[in-house]
Amino acid sequence: MNTQFFAAWIEEIAAAVRSRRDHLTQLDAAIGDADHGANLDRGFTAVREALAAASPQTPGALLVLVGSTLIRKVGGASGPLYGTAFREMGKAFGDAAEVSLAELSTGLNAALSGVQRLGAAAEGDKTMVDAFAPAADALAQAVRDGVKPQEALEAAASAAEQGAKATVPLQARKGRASYLGPRSVGHEDPGAASTALLFGALRTVAAR
């Protein structure tokens, strides 16, 4: 996977965020402050502009720029978190021109570690981690099993989707929703839902 692949991934995420913007915001209205869709749309709009202006030459440089831009522009908690995720992934890729499936898996694990280091959320706390962790695990397992890329990313995407849906019965223990205590039960976490979009976009781009 080369720079063009990751650029296509980011484009795909930006498009998915745009089309699911209102849905994400509705999820956030139930247990947060109704801005998650708007936050990510603002962030990825800025990312597209930054990429167009800088044309980064490696997957690593591209992802670090994506992360830095999200950190600066999103405005909500998801900004520092996704921003750190993309930056860590980019740093893991160094200045390689091509990234293998195993390296992608390693990069996504570094991203997840970054999210957890910054936000201190564990699985089950009803955050983006509940979609990110099973997706990263599924990809790592697929790599170990020698599964081919398209199938591996399919597994990661469905794990993220399932992880997101599985946040519904949970009580939030991190982020703004945690203030609601038991009242956060019965709703899907918006950040977990957007993480499922990220992995869904990866599957879509790999399937082309």
């Binding site: 936050n39 600066r72 900004g79 520092p80």
Partner: protein
């Protein structure tokens, strides 16, 4: 003097607490509000926080006081051990204690400790 940055979701809230803390703690303390997003909405702008850190940094260290959520995460991204440190304290009460300590010439650790005292002071 140690600098202090108040980071809130809301630019109004950060500004009001700055005004109150300044009135109680003295006008000389380097103190800045970093509230809201760049376009004036509710949220956090790391660029605003970075600018505020620069503004209050006199070389004696800077204490970041976040309210909640993205303010806390942004503060964590911008911390740098021994120089820019986070005070995990009640927003209003901790800010007042920190500003008073800074105005009294306390060190970075002293300001942090004074701010943390706010968890233990009762009002009644």
């Amino acid at each position: 003097m140690v600098g202090i940055v108040l980071i809130s979701h809301s630019s109004g809230l950060a500004a009001e607490v700055v005004a109150l803390a300044r009135q109680i703690g003295g006008a000389r303390v380097p103190l800045a509000a970093a509230g809201g997003t760049e376009d004036g909405g509710l949220g956090t702008s790391p660029d605003r926080v970075s600018a505020a850190i620069k503004e209050v940094d006199q070389g004696d260290g800077v204490v970041l006081i976040p309210d909640l959520g993205s303010s806390v995460l942004t503060a964590r991204l911008l911390q740098s051990p021994g120089e820019v440190v986070i005070a995990d304290v009640p927003f209003v009460e901790g800010a007042i204690s920190a500003v008073v300590a800074a105005g009294g010439g306390a060190s970075l650790d002293g300001v942090l400790a004074a701010a943390e005292e706010a968890w233990h002071v009762r009002k009644l």
